[in-house]
Every structure is written in C-alpha cells, then in structure tokens.
C-alpha cells in the first residue's frame, strides 16, 4: 500500500487527514487541532473500554453479591463446607459412644441431644456433611465430564451418531435412578468411589442433553463455519471453539445436578446402599435412627434439616446464578 499510510500509521482517519494536510495548507492548523482532539478522545475511549471491561467483571461479581438468593445459598453451603472440614476440632467426637447417656433430649451438654448409643447428635450432624460433600460434587463433576463429551459429539456431528447416542440417552433416562443405582451397587459392592461413579454415570444422560442443545445452537454460528473453512479438526472445533461459549448453561446444569446428587447420595445411604455405620452420614443416620422417631425425634430431625438445608442452598445458588447470567 502507499507511503502516506506507512508514515502515518494504519489509522484510516489519520491517513485521510494526511491527504488533507498536504492538500490544503489553510486547513492545516484546524486539522492538527482536530487530530490532537481525536487522539485524546481515542485515548479516553481506550481507557474507558478497559475500565468498562473491568467494570463488567466487577458487575457480575457484584450482581451475585447483591442477589439474596445466591448469598443465602452460598452462606449455607460455606457453613457446611466449613463444618465438613473443621467440625472435629470444634464438636465432641461424633463416634464416641456413651451407653449411659442414650437418647437424651437436647441440653447444654448435648445441644442436639444424643442418639441410641449416646453419641452427640450435634457432632454427628456437623460431621455428616463430610461424606455428602465429597460424593455429590465428585459425582457431578464426573457427570459434567462425560455428559459434556457426549453432548459435544452428538450435537456437533448430528446425523447418525447423534441419532444413536441420543436414543441411548433416552433409554438411560427412562431408568429410575434409585433402582438402577441400587442394582449397580448391589453388584459392585459399596464404597465411596463406586457411589460416585454410579451417580455420575446416571446423571450423564441429562447433562449430555443440555450440552447437546447448547452445541446445536452454537454450531450454526459463522465462526464455526470459519473454523471448518480453515480445515480445523472436529475435536479442536468442539473443545476450543464451541466449548468456551457454552460454559454458562453447563455451570447452571452443574449446580442443578449437584442438588440432585446430594439428594441421591442421601437416599442411597438411607436405603442402606451407601456408607456403613458408624459413619455420621445424614442419610444413614436418618435410616438407623428412624425407629426412635416417636421417643427421640431429635435424632432424626437434625440430620434431616441439615440435609434439606444443603439441598435448598444448592438450589438457591443455581437460581441466583441463572438469574445473573440471564441478564
């Protein structure tokens, strides 16, 4: 291209002005002034753009901080995370048996009372968060990973691949989650790892559906076509082009699944397919103590409330995230 540009830089405005400057000396002064004005304006705009970017990010954070649903949910969740990590140092030992003090009502010594073996219900309730907070997130992450891959492949390739995968997904979705997991757990035996894998696998179909829907709307976008015209491999297009643009629905789906995973893990423990005594797991505790419901309701009530509070907290977080993202 021409010399004028190389001397005045790539800016079309400056270049055009270069033409003007050499053309009309009378305008020179005015142009110089206008260029100066514009340069300052450009700098201002630039600074404004950078500030805007920072502000957008801060805005998102602040919108979450201002959302009461999100904050309440987050507070409860963080409370349980804290208890899961540090309750042993704070409370009495959750497995200390004291047959002399069994089934005592809540008191100063035992805030939530004691259970049939005289264990402190408060300590057990606080410690009970530990198992569920390992199983539920791990299972959710597995489900997101598998469901993400399946959804990406099905949504991106469409056609026969999609058809086969989605019919399989339909079949899996038709299976009742609890019954299937009971079957699997009775075959493979109990254990935290097996529970995680089972719940993760059973949640995979739902996640894959969400991801597939997001991929389908994204793959028709022109930047994906541009990638195909560059000869990019499908794996690259899926992972690098499409995936970063569908993180929001995946995050929301993840939090929804997390709530269900808490629920499912507790249900399995309750049915005796989860952890074994003396674990303070909530589901398990509710199951073993429910025979005393009439005479010592606190043994069941507190773990049940704890469980409910965790599920509600996760749902509140989901709700808050969804609303802020939708804005």
């Amino acid at each position: 291209m021409d010399e004028t540009r190389s001397s005045l830089g790539p800016d079309p405005d400056l270049r055009a002005e270069g033409a003007q400057l050499s053309a009309d000396p009378e305008m020179l002064e005015a142009r110089v002034d206008a260029v100066a004005t514009r340069a300052t304006v450009a700098a201002q705009v630039d600074a404004a753009a950078a500030a805007e970017q920072r502000r957008q990010r801060r805005y998102l954070a602040r919108a979450l901080l201002r959302s009461p649903t999100f904050m309440v949910g987050m507070f409860i969740l963080l409370f349980w995370v804290f208890m899961a990590l540090f309750s042993t140092g704070i409370t009495q030992n959750p497995t200390d048996v004291d047959p002399a003090a069994s089934l005592q009502a809540p008191s100063g010594a035992h805030w939530f009372g004691t259970d049939d073996l005289g264990r402190d219900v408060f300590a057990r309730t606080m410690a009970g968060a530990r198992t569920v907070l390992i199983i539920a997130p791990a299972a959710t992450i597995l489900a997101l990973l598998w469901g993400g891959i399946i959804g990406l492949v099905a949504g991106f390739w469409r056609g026969l691949t999609d058809e086969i995968i989605m019919r399989l997904v339909d079949v899996l979705l038709a299976l009742p989650i609890i019954i299937t997991s009971i079957l699997v757990l009775s075959l493979l035996g109990k254990g935290t790892a097996i529970i995680i894998v089972t719940i993760g696998a059973l949640f995979t179909p739902v996640v894959s559906r969400t991801v597939r829907a997001a991929v389908i709307s994204e793959r028709e976008r022109e930047y994906v076509m541009a990638a195909r015209l560059r000869g990019e491999r499908s794996a690259f297009v899926m992972a690098r082009e499409i995936l970063p643009n569908i993180t929001q629905p995946i995050i929301v789906e993840g939090t929804v699944r997390l709530g269900y995973a808490v629920f499912t893990a507790a249900t399995l423990s309750f049915l005796g397919f989860g952890l074994a005594p003396p674990s303070p797991d909530w589901g398990l505790t509710i199951s073993t103590q429910r025979v005393f419901l009439q005479i010592a309701p606190w043994t069941v009530l507190f773990p049940a409330v704890a469980l409910a509070s965790l599920v509600v907290a996760v749902n509140l977080i989901t709700d808050g995230l969804g609303r802020v993202f939708a804005k």
Binding site: P12, A30, Q53, A226, L229, R230, N245
Partner: protein, 742 residues
C-alpha cells in the same frame, strides 16, 4: 410545505401531531448518567410525513419511544415536553396511556414476526384492537378486521383472518402490522425501520402501500430509518440526528440535494448512487465512530469526525441556525470571542434559532458543499487486476436439494458460471433464491448433489473437510453477521493467529508479523488486537473477519452480504477495503447482496438468481440496463433512490415467491412476470438468449423485442430511459468523480 407557515400549536388551530420541545432523555446504567437526547425541538404537522435519519446509536428510536412513553425503565425524560395531538404524554395515567397507545399514536416495528402474537389467528389479533379500544362486539370487530385487511391490500382477506402469522410471508405480516397500527385512525403513526430486513421487492410493495395509504388516512408519519432513499420517497421533511442532537432539519428535498451540515453531507456521500462503479469513484466514508454514550464532548458533537472542523468548533457547541442565513457565522464569531477558559468548552443549551423552515447546527454551513473529499479511487480496471488470465473458478451444472420432511427443496438448480482472476461476480436475488447455498457449495460448507466445481483447473472435492490445505487457503468466505462471525471467547489476535497458522503455513516467528500486517491492511489498530469481539464495533468485527479470510493470501473470497448489517458510513468503508484488497492482491470475489446499488458498485459481472436458477448473467452495466430479464427489470424498479425527479415506473411483482419444492412449470418466473407472453411461458422452459456477447438471460422474449418493450416503459414513465436512472445523480457526484489527492 406545512411547516413553513411557522404556526405554533397554541394558535387555536388543531394541535400538531407531534410537538417536541427541549427534550432531554437520559439513561441510567449501573449508576452512570448517559445522556441520549439533548435539546431536541421538533414537530410534525397533522398529516405530514417526517423522516428521522442518522447512524444507529444516534437516538432515533429513543425519540420515538419517548413519544410513545415507552422508554425503558432506566430511561428518564429530564427536561422538555412531548405533545402528541396536543396531549402531554407525561400527564397520562397508566390506564389512559394504554388506550392512548394504539388509539392516538401507534407504532410499526422493524420485525413483523415479533410484533404479531404467534399463537393467535390474524383475525383475532386485529379484532382485539377494536374490542379493546372501541368496545366493539365480537362479530362487528371481525367485520372491521376484515375491512382493515382490505385496506392494506392483503390478497385474500377472508382466508388471512383465519391464518396464523407463520403462514404469511414477511411482507404480508408487515401489512398486517400496518393494518393493526392504522385500525383506530391514529394521529401519529411511527414507523421504526419498517422495511429493514425485507427484500427489495417486498420493501417496494410496503412503500407503495404506505404511500397509497397516506392519501386516505390523516395520520402524520414519523419514519425512522437508516435508508435515505426511503425518506426521499416518503417524507416531506427530514431531521438528521447525531449523538442525540438534531444537527439538520428541513424539507427532505432541500436537505438531500443541498445538505448544509457536514454529517448530512457525509451520510449522503457514503451511499453508492445507483449505477456507480468502483472504477469510477470511491465511496466516501465518515472517519471515526459515533461517540460512546456518556463520553464527554467538547463543542460541536460532530467535530471529532468532521473533515471541516476548525478550532472554534470545539470551543462551544453551535446552535441550530436558520438556513439560509448568517447565524452560523455570527455564532462562530461569538464563540471565538469567548475567553480560552476550559469551562467555556461545556456545551451550552442549544435551541433552534428562528422559525425558519430549515435549521443547521453548524458554524460553517456555507462551506459544506465544498467539503473535502477524502478517499481516492481505489479500483483499477479489470485488465490491471489480471482478469484476462483465464478462469479461476468454473461451476458446471451444480445442483443441491434439501429435504424438508417429505418435500424436496431444490435450492440450487443446474447452475453454471465462470469467474476470472481478479474479477468480482455479484450475485443478486430475493432471499430464498439460493445465493448463499451456491456460495456454500463453492466453499465446501455444503456438498452439491451433482455437478462439478473446478478451481484453478483442478476439480474441488465437495466438502471443506476433504479439501487439500491449499484449496482451503485459496477459497475463503466473509460472512454476513458481524456478531457471530468471530468467536466471542477468543481475542482478536488469537483469531488471526490461528487463521495464519492454519492457512498461511507460516512458522511461529513470522506469524506475529503476518498478523500485524493483516490487521494493518484492514485498518484495525493494534490496540484492538488485545480485545475480544464483544468490545469491537460492527465495522471492526467485519474488518477482522476480512483479515481472517485473507490470512492465507486467498485466490477467491466469497462475501455473503458482508456489509448489509452495518451503517451506511461503515458499509462504505468495508466496501472500499474490499476493493483496495482486490486491487493489491488480485483476488476474485463472489459478492452476494440484496442491495442492488452496492452490487452494481462493486461487481464487474452480475448474476441474477430466481428460485434456485441463474436467470441472467452479464457485465454489471449491461445486466442493469435493458434489454434484461423482466425479473431484473422489476428488481431494479423497486429500489428507492435519492433522486427526487425519479419517475421510474415501479413494477410490482405479483404474488409471492413460489415454493422451492414445487417450482412453476415452464419459465419459473411466469407466475409473477409482468411481460407474460402466454402459454409458452407456462409450458416451455425458456431458452438462454444472448443480448450482447457475454450477457445472457433466460426468457422467451428475444433481446431486440425486450429492448423495445423496456425502453417504452421507461419512456412512458415520463422521463428518459432506464439508462438515465443508472447515471450517478447530481448530489456530491461532482465531488465523487473528482480525482482525490493521496
């Protein structure tokens, strides 16, 4: 001119349809005050049509929303009054407001599909208006709905009453929306981009309807559009908005033929005149961009982009001065006399001065006709671009059919064409005619069912995934939608780097240099390379998309409506960029657009598609002059131009486009053709006729007869021949043809 009598609303006569004084609208966004409109004073007389033009973001729609009292929750009217038919809009209660909207004032929006409820039959939607506003009984309401459909000339009103919106074409939907807006005889009808997104022929149809209705209704019209041709055709007066200020106002004809504000002049020069070609004149652009909302402005709002700006312009904001007059000069002298105190830079409150019919907010209005031309002619002749070297691309009998349930839709039917090196082939036709499908067959995004595509002598594989690296590099595409053409998660530099590495085959060290060169070639400043597409303007995004296509020094670039989503000023700079790249790189283009003036400007040869067939091909000038296919003739007659003496007879296309699944027998165009011969057209496929060497069209009428018929029509229309219309028109044309200095 109804406005010329200077009558104000308080004179006891009937009040004006719209009377806005000193209007100031501010948006509040996350704690910041962003002034959108400032000191707007304008009015529309009863029955008058007023056009509001300006780039997107100037505040046009905000003004309309303020008149409807439809401002978003974060928008407030800080000062001023809006009177509609003498009624202060802000004094209405919520209940009265509901009755008043759709009663006294109604609005037609850009997208008819969103204005109609998809779940209600047309008849019920229309009847609801009467039932709500006038308490009409059910049967009578339906009767009146039928009547209102008749008024907007819907082909079969009875059947339409029972249809759902999705069963109607875009043009018919817009007719229904207009029928609905007119149902209660409003005093003011606001049309917000009523034809944007519609095909040229449908647009012409809607314009005819509006023009025709104007004789029968007493509503005043506020037309908001970026299409200056529309305003020229429909409006008596026009207001030009820039950054929330009215910068020029007056009779449409005067403003458009003798603009006195540099912005108006700039806008007019951006639009390709019909018949202009890249080898005759460069499109003028408006440098820079609209100031962002809330950006501090010194003095004249336009000074930062104005090629005529002088120091005095940033000292103090000019008033709206009466034109002709010396108000501007006096204002400049006054501003000069101000002490050089920074505080004096703050814009003072501006009001129209005097009751004249024309106002301009500029100190230097007398100099505007001599506004300097900035862009040189860029294009060289075809020969200089190496276009004699033989074909780069030759497509033979390409066919592509899609399945829609059990129906088969043939989107591209037996198309053959050739393209030379350095040549631009323009592809025009209504939406759904198969232009994009054909383009995607060439790029390999869609595989053709049959036919061959040869590129530089070798046959191309059907899909991009199977093509060689070199074929991918050589054939690239620029897409239509600037908002989805770039991956929003990637930085601009990452996007270009990836393209260079995949297509340019360069090693790591040279990639950086190549990316910098590409961005310099498309005039994107390096600082924008760090940003993500979200932070770029539409024009910048499209520039990056062009740079991406040029990453591997392509031989052929398919441009699918690359500028149609952009403002005219930006469109001009994108077109200039494409022309310049072609001149330097000798690349060939297939250029798809529905804007005939743009296609005429940028193309060397043009192909016209109708219902999946290529019905006419030839050199650009020949295709757009008689003898040409009757469909091309109709298309051309439908473009609104800025020519006020335009006496071309508009040829309305009958009916709607037939379905691709059941194309008409014989000549595909016979169902809508105004030159129908008779059964021969219905039964026999027309032969390919040659008008001149290289210009062929598919029709039963031989060229000599067609020439006579088509020149007769033009002559009968009262003035000259169609060839006249193809000449550049007076305004700014002298500036444009003058060779500019570089």
């Amino acid at each position: 001119m109804p406005s010329a009598n200077g009558q104000s609303s308080g004179d006891g006569a009937a009040p004006r349809a719209l009377d806005v004084s000193d209007l100031e609208v501010t948006f509040h966004r996350r704690g910041r005050r962003l002034p959108v409109l400032k000191g707007i004073t304008m009015h529309i007389e009863r029955g008058e049509a007023y056009g509001l033009v300006g780039e997107s973001g100037c505040g046009k729609t905000t003004l309309a929303m303020a008149a409807m009292r439809y401002l978003a929750a974060n928008g407030t009217i800080d000062a001023g009054r809006v009177l509609v038919d003498g009624q202060d809009v802000s004094e209405l209660s919520e209940e009265a407001l509901r009755k008043w909207r759709g009663g006294k004032v109604s609005m037609v929006y850009q997208d008819p599909t969103q204005a109609l409820s998809p779940a209600m039959r047309i008849g019920d939607q229309l009847a609801e208006v009467y039932r709500y506003h006038e308490g009409t009984g059910k049967t009578e309401a339906i009767e009146r709905a039928r009547e209102s459909l008749r008024r907007v000339a819907i082909p079969d009103p009875e059947a339409t009453l029972h249809r759902y919106p999705f069963e109607l074409s875009g043009g018919q939907q817009q007719r229904v929306v207009i029928a609905m807006a007119l149902s209660i005889n409003p005093q003011l009808l606001i049309l917000d981009e009523p034809t944007t997104g519609l095909d040229a022929t449908v647009e012409a149809e809607i314009l005819d309807l509006i023009e025709e209705l104007r004789g029968r209704i007493n509503a005043a019209i506020l037309l908001i559009t970026h299409n200056l041709g529309l305003v020229a055709r429909l409006c008596e007066r026009v207001g030009v908005l820039y950054a929330g200020r009215l910068v020029e106002e007056g009779a449409a004809k005067q403003v458009f033929t003798d603009p006195r504000h540099p912005y108006t002049m700039g806008l007019l020069r951006c639009v390709p005149r019909f018949g202009m070609n890249k080898t005759d004149a460069a499109l003028q652009t408006i440098p820079g961009t609209l100031p962002a909302l809330g950006e501090p402005l010194k003095g004249c709002v336009y000074s930062a982009r104005c090629p005529m700006a002088k120091p005095v312009c940033v000292r103090r904001e000019p008033d709206l001065y009466a034109w002709p007059g010396d108000g501007g000069a006096r204002g400049a002298a006054e501003a000069e006399a101000l002490p050089p105190d920074p505080a004096a830079y703050s814009p003072h409150h501006a009001n129209p001065v005097g009751e004249a019919s024309r106002h301009v907010r500029c100190y230097f209005s007398p100099d505007v006709p001599e506004m300097p031309v900035m862009t040189p002619v860029l294009a060289t002749s075809l020969e200089a671009r190496g276009a004699t070297e033989g074909n780069v691309l030759s497509i033979e009998n390409v066919q592509r059919t899609f399945k829609d349930g059990r129906k088969k839709l043939t989107a591209v039917s037996d198309i053959s064409l050739e393209l030379k090196r350095g040549e631009t082939f323009g592809l025009v036709g209504e939406s759904g005619s198969g232009k994009t499908t054909l383009a995607k067959c060439v790029t390999g995004l869609i595989a053709p069912d049959s036919g061959t595509i040869e590129f530089e002598g070798g046959q191309l594989r059907p899909t991009a995934g199977r093509r060689s690296k070199d074929a991918l590099r050589a054939i690239q595409m620029v897409f239509q939608n600037p908002d989805s053409t770039l991956n929003p998660s990637w930085s601009t530099r990452a996007i270009l780097t990836r393209a260079v590495r995949k297509l340019g085959g360069a090693d790591r060290a040279s990639v950086r240099g190549k990316v910098d060169k590409l961005s310099a070639d498309v005039r994107v400043e390096p600082r924008f390379l760090l940003q993500k597409p979200l932070d770029l303007s539409g024009g910048q995004k499209q520039r990056i998309a062009i740079a991406r296509a040029f990453a591997g020094d392509p031989t052929l670039v398919i441009c699918d409506e690359p500028a149609s989503a952009l403002d005219v000023s930006v469109q001009a700079s994108i077109l200039n960029l494409l022309v310049e790249l072609q001149t330097n790189e000798h690349v060939s283009y297939v250029f798809i657009s529905h804007d005939l003036a743009v296609v005429r400007y940028i193309s060397d040869r043009i192909g016209v598609m109708y219902l999946a067939e290529l019905i006419e091909v030839g050199a650009a000038a020949e295709v757009f002059n008689p003898p040409h296919h009757p469909y091309t003739e109709a298309l051309l007659s439908s473009i609104p131009t800025l020519d006020f003496d335009d006496a071309r007879q508009r040829i309305p296309l009958r009916g709607t486009m037939p379905s691709l699944s059941e194309p008409p027998s014989g000549c595909r165009f016979h169902t809508r053709c105004h030159r129908l011969l008779g059964d021969i057209c219905r039964e026999q496929e027309p032969p390919l006729q040659e008008a001149v060497s290289g210009h062929t069209y598919k029709c039963h009428i031989p060229p000599n007869e067609l020439l006579v018929l088509q020149t007769e029509t033009a002559a009968a229309a009262g003035r000259g021949s169609a060839a006249d219309a193809a000449e550049p028109q007076s305004i700014g044309a002298s500036d444009l043809s003058a060779p500019a200095e570089v």
